[in-house]
């Protein structure tokens, strides 16, 4: 990989189409009404050949730009450093030392599938600023790039013929539509190539996924994901589009005035319920598309996750870079005992939400075994959690009740007939505050520190002493009167780090954790 490589020629089309779409969007959206009116009198109008010619010229220009960009963009690996040169007008050179790379992602959109290429994204600790994306690289080249950046693996753990057999088995058992299959499957075809690249080195030791989530499980996960909120944000985006586009605005206002005429509480309730169900189903579909065919591979050095129905995405994370494990039990999943496992990874900036899911839908009782296999640094046998003292409960309840009580008082006072409808907010808030107190806790075991916090979801965070970047005790005046304190620690993640904490634990316990985190002399502490 030391000589400069070009991207796969498919990059020309992908870049070209992308910029054509972008320019097209920029032109079409402001003139949408005009174009619509032109189109409606298409037969009588003699402009349309010109329009067509303009569109073709635009596409041609975009393709030309694509060719130039493709021509200029090269990448290579020299001295354990990824060097990318690109840019047509402004030429840019980016050098990234391999040890600073936090993860290598492979991504496949629809266009990538057509050309059988992948997009390679290289992320470093600096966050969004230090991101490098190679738009289109053939799958073989992508694997080769990864292998030459992270050659850490020693000899393959399986003898060659056995590895071949395993690969063949996997190939049979996996559906033909499976994309990004180079990692486990194509070793059968590309085996010779691997050997020629790096004799005996680059063969992944784990060619069989450690875990795999079936479609029905993914749908269950989607139904219980509790990401209904995501749908509403999408909906509000849609609303603004409808609201802004002139021809659609009439439709929108017409529908809205119909709704307004019939505003009565029952109708509103029905509407809200219908909307909620629609949002729930839509978020399920969205979730399923995003997380379908989830698979996780593990070898000595790294974790590789793979997911997605339409655009496939593969993320490789060096195991050494994982800073903490977060186990999240969503509200809807608690009755069924399923959790989602996240890795807090040094170096993901803005994409934290879904970038590092290690398992989207794991049975609670399988968590210890899963961690032992996947992230052994963070596996604990049976965590014993110390709960918060009883006198913290009052503080939790007061904190969650203040705002709802104000709200209810105000609505009772100012909304004449329907004010009492807000009353259920109070027991709701009470329940929420009680939950937060009931499920919060902390624990220390060996070199592990773990905390549990709860909102609607329960979150269990595990880290080890050497991963903690800083920690703090905080105490307000009221906490001092009750001999309580809050404890927080930070691990590296993104630019500002990830902070986890428990509010209102015993002050002596906070001090105990603080003292435990203090660096101590070399001798091994008694376990």
């Amino acid at each position: 990989m030391s000589e400069p490589h070009r991207l796969h020629p498919a990059a020309i089309f992908i870049l070209g189409i992308r910029s054509a779409v972008r320019i097209g969007k920029g032109l079409v959206v402001p003139f949408a009404a005009w174009i619509a009116s032109e189109l409606s009198k298409l037969q009588s109008n003699s402009h349309w050949p010109w329009l067509l010619a303009a569109a073709l010229a635009l596409l041609g220009l975009a393709m030309l730009g694509g060719i130039l960009e493709w021509h200029r963009c090269t990448y290579r690996v020299v001295d354990g450093e990824l060097r990318v040169e690109h840019g047509v007008l402004v030429r840019k050179q980016r050098f990234i030392p391999a040890e600073r790379i936090q993860s290598i992602d492979l991504e496949e959109d629809f266009l990538h599938r057509v050309f059988r290429v992948v997009k390679v994204r290289v992320l470093t600790a600096g966050g969004s600023d230090d991101k490098i994306a190679l738009v289109a690289v053939s799958r073989v080249d992508a694997e080769r790039l990864r292998a030459s950046l992270w050659p850490g693996r020693t000899a393959p753990s399986l003898p060659a013929h056995e590895a071949g057999a395993t690969a063949a088995q996997t190939a049979v058992s996996l559906p033909a539509s499976d994309v990004l299959a180079t990692y486990p499957v194509d070793t059968g075809n590309d085996g010779a190539l691997w050997d020629s690249v790096q004799p005996g080195a680059a063969q992944p030791s784990a060619t069989v996924p450690v875990c795999q989530v079936s479609m029905s499980q993914t749908i269950c996960a989607g139904l219980t994901s509790g990401r209904v909120g995501m749908f509403f944000t999408a909906l509000s985006g849609l609303y603004s589009v409808f609201h802004d586009a002139p021809p659609l605005r009439h439709v929108f206002t017409a529908v809205w005035s119909r709704v307004e005429q019939q505003v009565r509480v029952p109708v509103l309730v029905e509407l809200a319920v219908a909307l909620l169900i629609a949002a729930w189903l839509a978020s399920t579909v969205q979730y399923t598309i995003r997380y379908a065919n989830f698979r996780l591979f593990v070898d000595d050095e790294q974790l590789v996750t793979e997911r997605g129905l339409i655009s496939r995405r593969r993320i490789s994370i060096p195991r050494e870079r994982i800073q903490a494990i977060r186990i999240v039990e969503g509200l809807l999943r608690q009755p069924f005992g399923f959790v989602e496992v996240h890795a807090e990874n040094a170096g993901f900036g803005e994409r934290q939400v879904d970038a590092v899911v290690l398992h989207p839908f794991l049975r609670r009782e399988d968590v210890p075994a899963f961690l032992a296999k996947v992230a052994s640094e963070f596996s604990i046998e049976a965590p014993t959690l110390s709960r918060l003292p009883l006198r913290a409960r009052r503080r939790y309840l007061i904190r969650t009740l203040v705002l709802p009580l104000l709200f209810v008082t105000a609505s009772m006072a100012f909304v004449p007939h329907w004010g009492w409808l807000s009353l259920p907010v109070v027991p709701g808030a009470f329940w929420y505050g009680w939950r937060r107190w009931r499920y919060a806790g902390w624990g220390i075991e060996g070199d592990h520190l773990y905390l549990r916090t709860a909102g609607l979801a329960r979150t269990f965070v595990i880290t080890t002493r050497r991963r903690v970047q800083s920690c703090s005790i905080r105490q307000s005046w009221w906490q001092r009167r009750a001999a309580l304190a809050s404890f927080r620690f930070a691990v590296a993640s993104g630019l500002a780090g990830a902070h986890f904490g428990v509010v209102d634990l015993e002050l002596i316990h906070a001090i105990r954790v603080y003292e435990w985190l203090r660096p101590r002399s070399r001798q091994k502490p008694s376990a």
Binding site: S470, S476, A490
Partner: protein
């Protein structure tokens, strides 16, 4: 229970003056904002003019007094630090007392900073960055800050950026 006294070094006394100045600036802007708000209320709702002026100005005066006279003193008295070979211990906070531990091995950069106001009084702050955010010891005498920076850099085994 005493959990704050292990950090022992105080901040330079001149910090008090710097913080008082920033507090006064803050207080003046609070008063200005309150005056604008009260004026607007008086313009729009003339019958509320008197209570609005009295209310806004009372709140603004109290908060101005707090930020210029009370807060700097508490902050200065509270601030303590201790830099040992293996760890940095900080105690600070006005309404909420915080104590922060930074293991020396986690320090990535350390540097000193000097704004115009700090320079005027011959002070500097020490800036300590870890992989998960940064911390600051504010307002030390310039040579104390520089010695501290060099010592942290040596113990942490990192380059210091000035």
């Amino acid at each position: 229970m005493d959990w704050q006294s292990q950090a022992s070094e105080p901040i330079d006394p001149r910090a008090l003056r710097v913080w008082t100045i920033t507090g006064i600036v803050e207080a003046v802007s609070t008063l200005a904002i309150a005056a604008v708000l009260a004026g607007l209320t008086a313009r729009c709702l003339p019958w509320l003019a008197k209570p609005a002026w009295i209310g806004f100005m009372a709140v603004a005066l109290v908060s101005a007094w707090v930020s210029a006279c009370v807060v700097p003193g508490i902050r200065w008295r509270r601030w303590r630090y201790r830099v040992a070979e293996r760890e940095i211990d900080l105690v600070y906070g006005v309404w909420v007392v915080k104590r922060t531990l930074i293991p020396m091995t986690r320090v990535q950069h350390v540097g000193t900073r000097q704004g115009p106001l700090l320079r005027r009084y011959g002070l500097a702050s020490v800036h300590i960055a870890t992989a998960a955010g940064h911390h600051e010891i504010p307002a030390l005498a310039l040579n104390t800050a520089e010695t501290l920076r060099n010592r942290i850099a040596e113990w942490a085994g990192v380059a210091d950026d000035v």
